[in-house]
Amino acid sequence: MQATVALAGNPNSGKTTLFNELTGARQHVGNYPGVTVEKKEGTYTHPDFKLHIVDLPGTYSLTAYSLEEVVARDYLVNEKPEVVINIVDSSNLERNLYLAVQFLEMGIPVCIALNMIDVAKKRGIEINADKLSSLLGVPVIPTIARTGQGKQELMESAAHIVQVKKEFRALKISYGDDVDRAMLDMEKEIEAGNFLTATYPARWIALKYMEKDEQILSQGQKHNPDLSARLEETVKKVSSHLLNTLDTYPEAMVADQRYGYIKSLLKQGVIYQKYDQNRLYSSDKIDKVLTNRFLGPLIMLAVIAGLFHLVFTYSAVPVNWLESFFGWIGHGLYTILPDGLLRSLIISGIIDGVGGVLGFVPLIMFMFFGIAFLEDSGYLARVAFMLDRVFRIFGLHGSSVMAFIVSGGIAGGCAVPGVMATRTLKSPRERLATLLTVPFMNCGAKLPVFALLIAAFFAKYEAAIMFAITLGAWAGALLVAKLLRVTVIKGESTPFVMELPPYRMPTFKGLAIHTWERTWQYIKKAGTVILGFSIILWTMMTFPMLPESRVGEFESRRQSILVSVPASVSTELERIDEGTDLSGAARDLKKQLQIINYAEAEAGLRYSVAGRIGTALESVSQWAGFDWRTNIALLAGFAAKEVMVSTLGTAYSLGEVDPEASGPLSEKLAEDPGWSPLMGLGLIVFTMFYAPCFVSVVCISKESGSWKWGAFAVIFNTLLAFSLAVLIFQTGSALGVLTN
């Protein structure tokens, strides 16, 4: 026997834990069609049967309040899984049954997992599962997802429902006389008009009209506008009647009566509570400290800084391994492959590009392990609770903070995991505003650029400038978020009403699975889109190549130097192995040749497409004081911000400069008459705000569900950065400050 079983339940009911317990590592993660809500599937194997398990998004209700609820409902209606397993938190039965009642109203086959029965017992709550089962008319199985207890009985009872083709009739609750009477009329009309009845039960359609469910209303309006208008008219009548007599709304009546039904159910000997329901437990006592007015923010700072420190310190080790590994492959291929374009493409284009991207993998793994820990333990909800007041001013949500910090709110993060961290945000508009503004934070790749410019122009004020850069990034990100929220992502703030789940120790299995999912999604992207981008960028910086005549010019300059020195010196340089000491004369010769090679590289770069773009842009970029060299560096910085340093090195005939040791380059910039501290400042600001690196752009597009937002981030951020840089340069020039 084979069948599909959908897992549904409230957030924090242990749904994901049960799913992991049932399916083990045999999971498949994808998206529901057309939306960014995650869809997890897996298989449960029993000696007698096999069940295909789909993990529906966690929801409190089926009222189409959030994308998750719409997705869950659509799945149940359209895919018609054979059984829905509703996981309820036994220690929180009353509220969890609210969702169960809505499944029963739909008349779909339901089986209830009475999860965390151990927690309930500890809290002095006794539940009579058999009684509940006979009252609801569906199987009720006590389970403990963390240990796997009860999972076999649960699966067997689900399979039983399929095998005996158990009939389920929709639960009919009285929603009060006025609503009931109107619904009976509506039901008749719906049935007579075959109004959406192919997909939904008639009474359920009437109920959704009563609840003013936007999704069903718009479906109805399309299907049969006249009938839909009549139904809406009936609802309107009930509405005004209820408002006049009881000062309430139909949707409120429906919710009240559902809770009333649950209450009466539980009173019939289903539940026995030893203590007052709202008594405080250890979790609440922890909260007294962790969300304390004074201690709370301090502890939060310590936790976040600690997480950040741990992640970036420990991930540095495997990041270095990966870097050396790719360096080693690059070096190996360098010696194997003949000099020429192919070698350049493979090493500078492919290996450097993909290697740079895969280099992030350990960082992402560590970061997500940390975030998953904070999220699963329940602490992240407290962070949102404490910071919401601040972030709300800017049209964001308390949960936005994590994404900002990860991206470099404490200098040195990375926007890629930052963008991915916005998934913990459930409010769509706030989430979009967050993921579009996190790239303004000072990620680790921007730091070498800042270090270079600070060393060149502001060496004395290093600490102060770095601090100002950090504050500037936060101010910029929050103000832009506000701007976006009153323009392109306009709309009311999503209600904050959320649960502070009890603190729980996360399971290692859950953390590991979560971390691996995120990492794998990232690796898949790196293998495809990013490889393509690397090759395009390499091509732009390589072609067209210098014409023969100019290559010949450099070659003849090299020859003339070679002939000017004694033959013994040039043969010494040719024959000598790397790493051995050279004689003074040979070292001199090597230096002179290098100067010519670097000059050739500079000329080649300027001659390439990127160089031509850089030169062509000078007419615009001069407003900010940027010349073609800076323009190329900024273009290359689109690959990864630290590439700006090495590209500037090439453009200044210094060869490729190591971003970690940019001393000679910063001296060169400081001496260059074309540069001034003012330009340095302008470039710092530009680097802070311009287009995110393309790995971030890919992630933004993926997380927002549209390339449109990726393109928006590139164009909008660059325009913003340019305006700021021009403003700084022009004002500074006019006032004559920082000009030398």
Binding site: Y60, S61, T63, Y65, S91, N92, E94, R95, Y98, R123, E211, K212, D247, T248, Y249, E251, A252, A255, D256, Y259, Q277, N278, L280, D284, D287, K288, T291, R293, F294, G296, P297, F385, M386, D388, R389, V390, R392, G398, T494, P495, F496, V497, M498, E499, L500, P502
Partner: protein
């Protein structure tokens, strides 16, 4: 005595009397279990006095002050401080 949820002090208990809001917010408030007749107790407030955390049906919920404005609570007279 009926007061607004926003005016309740920490640790004060009461019974929800009315939820006067429709639409998304109203739906969300009711979905989370805040319907008339439910016992609630204020657990505390965030460091900036907003949002507020409250105990309801054995769980802790949070909502912003401007959302709490829509909820009226029946409290006992002597519990009200100040």
């Amino acid at each position: 005595m009926r007061i607004n949820l926003r005016q309740m002090s920490d640790n004060q208990a009461g019974k929800i009397a009315a939820v006067k809001v429709a639409g998304d917010l109203g739906r969300r408030i009711r979905d989370m279990g805040m319907v008339p007749g439910t016992d609630i107790k204020i657990q505390g407030r965030a460091p900036l006095y907003d949002p507020v955390a409250l105990r309801i049906r054995g769980a802790t919920l949070t909502l912003r002050n401007n959302e709490a404005d829509h909820i009226e609570v029946e409290v006992e007279e002597e519990c009200k401080q100040q």
